[in-house]
């Protein structure tokens, strides 16, 4: 009975809190620009509105066009269940769950890319090509980060991997993971979530033809992914295992808020990069995570 209650609470936490993050980012951007900005809860309103709308289907698209966004959403939610939440621990934990976590993210991306190709639009094809090209580099950095955590803890299960505090590599890992977070969640300087220009879009171009509930699933899934990466970044870097549960929860919440505000500040103060410079930045992220891995590995030997 207790485990069912735990699961429900945990689901609520991920499902209900995730759409708050984009709202906070937009508020920070508006604040820096001196505007009032949209309400923090705007994404909730958008999701409610989209949920009530019908689906417009291209005559060229197969039913996969509607099914795949749902698959992506389920994959992301499952990945969220594997991620520990500070003192709460993970909803589901077993040896190698970190590997499954990586594959679930990849599955989500695969399904979004497939759905984008369904309508045969030039824009969506272009967006897909960009998304998967950059994902190759971003995934390398993410895998290096996961390896770092795995090597220093000697485990491939999130609960123990995120347990011990990081050593000197924490700063390297934080920087690397932050860049991966920006890239994986299509934020400036990699992508511009606010743009209306199809030719410059990456992620947005992939979902141009979606509408109604599938679009709501995509938007909600994207916000869950953002929360997922934020939670990972905070737990990988901040030592929380020695704290009392309540304090650890508070640290986690503050950390998530801090990272979200940092994303908003980056978006307010930095222009977006040209595509040809994106691989350079992602390679930097990979190298940062790689050096963190070296520190964890050699540091352990010494």
């Amino acid at each position: 009975m207790n485990s069912i209650l735990d699961l429900i609470l945990r689901l609520d936490c991920w499902l209900l809190l995730a759409p708050l993050l984009p709202g906070i980012i937009n508020k920070v951007k508006a604040w820096v620009a001196g505007r009032r900005g949209p309400p923090v809860l705007q994404l909730y309103y958008d999701l409610a509105r989209l949920w009530k709308k019908g689906v417009v289907m291209s005559t060229l698209a197969s039913p996969a066009f509607v099914i795949l966004p749902a698959v992506t959403w389920v994959a992301l939610l499952s990945a969220a269940m594997l991620m520990p939440l500070g003192p709460l621990g993970a909803g589901l934990t077993f040896r190698g769950d970190a590997l499954l976590w990586l594959y679930l993210l990849a599955l989500g991306r695969f399904c979004t890319a497939w759905a984008a190709m369904e309508t045969g639009s030039a824009f969506e094809g272009m967006g897909t090509v960009r998304e998967v090209s950059y994902a190759v580099l971003a995934e390398a950095a993410l895998i290096a980060a996961v390896l770092t955590l795995s090597v220093q803890s000697g485990s491939i299960s999130w609960v123990t991997m995120l347990g011990p505090p990081m050593g000197a590599g924490a700063a390297l890992l934080a920087a690397g993971l932050f860049i991966v977070l920006l890239s994986e969640n299509c934020r400036v300087p990699f992508d511009d979530p606010n743009t209306h220009l199809e030719l410059t879009m990456i992620h947005e171009a992939m979902v141009l033809d979606h509408s109604g509930p599938p679009l709501a699933a995509i938007l909600h899934g994207a916000s869950m992914k953002l929360l997922l990466f934020t939670v990972l970044l905070v737990q990988a870097v901040l030592p929380m295992s020695q704290l009392k549960p309540l304090a650890a929860g508070a640290v986690l919440a503050c950390g998530v808020l801090g990272v979200t505000v940092a994303v908003g500040l980056v978006e307010s103060l930095l222009a977006r990069f040209a595509f040809r410079r994106v691989p350079l930045l992602l390679t930097t992220a990979f190298l940062l995570c790689l050096f963190a891995l070296l520190v964890a590995w050699k540091g352990g030997l010494a």
Binding site: K29, V32, A33, G34, R35, A122, F123, G125, M126, V188, P189, D192, N194, T195, H196, L197, E198, L199, T200, E267, S268, L269, L270, A271, R272, F273, A274, F275, R276, R277
Partner: protein, 493 residues
């Protein structure tokens, strides 16, 4: 150079009897044009004048170094004429237009297709240039765009992210302005002129009333000319500021983007302070001006102008201080100076390629004969250079206005205007914020318009955008497009 030309010479905003415009058989006319273009003249306009079943071609050339315009024409002809385009690409759209409007075929034109002729409800775009090859993909954008902008179709030939070729098809906004002017001027003509390109209301209205004044053999009172110059610079300030904000927005640089949108409104409000309309509509009247700027309001304008200029300077400084912005602008969408001269670019786009080309300086008319500001030139021809020219012009327009507002000329606001002379040709060039606005009017024997030709700067510059895209990443199209910010309706007429 102009001293030895066989063409008839006149100054900007001047007129001359139609009979004094030299006429040659068409082959000789084209050869004469080619010779003049070959030694540094610039093609301002080339159009046909119907003469019964036949057509006369008329060319208006500019000798910028001599501050002189030259006009020549062909004898009435039907059928075909040798194309200027292979040697002088700046003629290519004019020749397509002549072919479309008068059925004369430019023999040797490499890309003869409609400019704005409609087939059904949409322009007859014709075949697009296609690049063959398995790696090549084609991207079609428009005519309906994602933002609230005008309609136009862009066809990219790409290899991956790189654009090999861009072809631009316009005509979706063709309203038949030139056709509506035959037999004019009418009571509605001025209103139509103010909407040839809505963001260049002042420039087009000034060109039109200047033509009417030239045809009547008179000139507006100095005070009216002064007001027109002020309104023209306010229009430039508002549009340049808005465009720099839009450029910042397209690279997701929020500080400048959000500030410039507000500042553009400040400059528009100054125009509203002058005449009650933010775009300056209703200010300019044939023979003068409809509104005056009394000392009290001139002072109020200056008081509001100076802080707006300071804020704009700050917003633009953020743009130049940000290395992430500079790296987006530099080296993107390059047009070389030689290309710019060849295709006849005008306005800030030409000056950003290092060409010294500004009607206010080269062919001063109206108030610009008495008050000038330096020509803004920047080498490079990329998005950075175009943004840079815009920002420098904001400074200089600001200084010009600040200087002018404190020493207004005295005198009348408006004179009664005589009717246009019969059988007379007049030419007016105005440097709008986008570049050279060229209006040419020819009257019939009753003093009504026989032919009225409008050449918006966009007509010259769209080819420049297409060239800028070659070898550029397709994701950089929006910033290239915004750095030119050309008019669709000004082209489509």
């Amino acid at each position: 150079m102009s001293a030895s030309t066989p063409f008839a010479l006149l100054a900007n905003s001047g007129s001359l009897p139609w009979a004094e415009v030299p006429a040659w058989p068409v082959a000789d006319f084209i050869r004469a044009c080619s010779t003049e273009l070959g030694r540094g003249a610039r093609l301002c306009s080339l159009f046909g004048v119907a003469e019964g079943e036949a057509t006369q071609l008329v060319a208006v050339l500019a000798f910028d170094a001599d501050s002189t315009l030259a006009v020549g024409r062909s004898t009435p002809m039907v059928g075909s004429f040798p194309s200027l385009t292979p040697n002088h690409p700046q003629a290519h759209l004019f020749e397509r237009e002549v072919w479309e409007q008068h059925g004369l075929t430019p023999v040797g034109h490499p890309w003869l297709k409609p400019v704005r002729r409609t087939a059904g409800n949409a322009p007859a775009n014709g075949e697009f240039f296609r690049v063959a090859g398995g790696e090549i993909h084609e991207v079609a954008v428009g005519p309906v765009h994602a933002g609230i902008i005008e309609p136009g179709h862009f066809r990219f030939q790409c290899a991956g992210e790189e654009v090999l070729h861009l072809e631009i098809a316009l005509g979706y906004q063709h309203r038949g302005i030139e056709e509506a002017l035959g037999g004019g001027p009418y009571r509605t003509t001025l209103m139509q002129m103010e909407t040839v390109a809505g963001d260049s209301s002042i420039a087009h209205a000034t060109a039109y009333v200047t033509l009417l004044e030239a045809l009547a053999g008179s000139e507006a009172p100095l005070r009216a000319q002064w007001l027109r110059a002020i309104a023209l610079e306010l229009e430039r300030l508002a549009n340049h500021t808005g465009d720099l904000g839009a450029l910042a927005n397209d690279v997701a640089f929020l500080p400048t983007s959000s500030t410039c949108g507000k500042l553009r409104g400040d400059f528009l409000n100054l125009t509203a302070l002058l005449c009650g309309n933010r775009f300056g509509r209703g200010l300019i009247r044939p023979g003068g001006s409809r509104h005056d700027l009394e000392p009290a309001r001139a002072e109020e304008m200056l008081e509001k102008l100076l802080p707006a200029l300071t804020d704009t300077a700050q917003a633009i400084a953020w743009l130049w201080d940000s290395s992430s912005v500079r790296s987006r602008f530099e080296g993107v969408g390059r047009v070389f100076a030689a290309q710019a001269a060849e295709i006849g670019l005008v306005g800030p786009a030409a000056r950003a390629c290092g060409l010294v080309r500004d009607v206010r300086y080269d062919h001063p008319a109206g108030w610009h004969r008495f008050a000038q500001s330096p020509v803004t030139v920047w080498p490079g021809g990329d998005v950075f250079a175009r943004a840079r020219v815009r920002s420098l012009e904001i400074q200089r327009s600001g200084e010009f206005l600040a200087g002018q507002l404190i020493c207004p000329p005295e005198g009348e606001l408006r004179d009664d205007l005589a009717d246009p002379e019969p059988d007379t040709l007049a030419v007016a060039l105005v440097e709008g914020w986008r570049g050279e606005v060229c209006h040419v009017a020819l009257t019939d024997n009753a003093g009504r318009f026989r032919r009225y030709k409008i050449t918006d700067p966009s007509f010259h510059n769209w080819s420049g955008l297409a060239l800028a895209l070659r070898g550029t990443a397709i994701s950089d199209f929006p910033i290239c497009n915004k750095s030119f910010n050309l008019s669709y309706c000004g082209f489509d007429l």
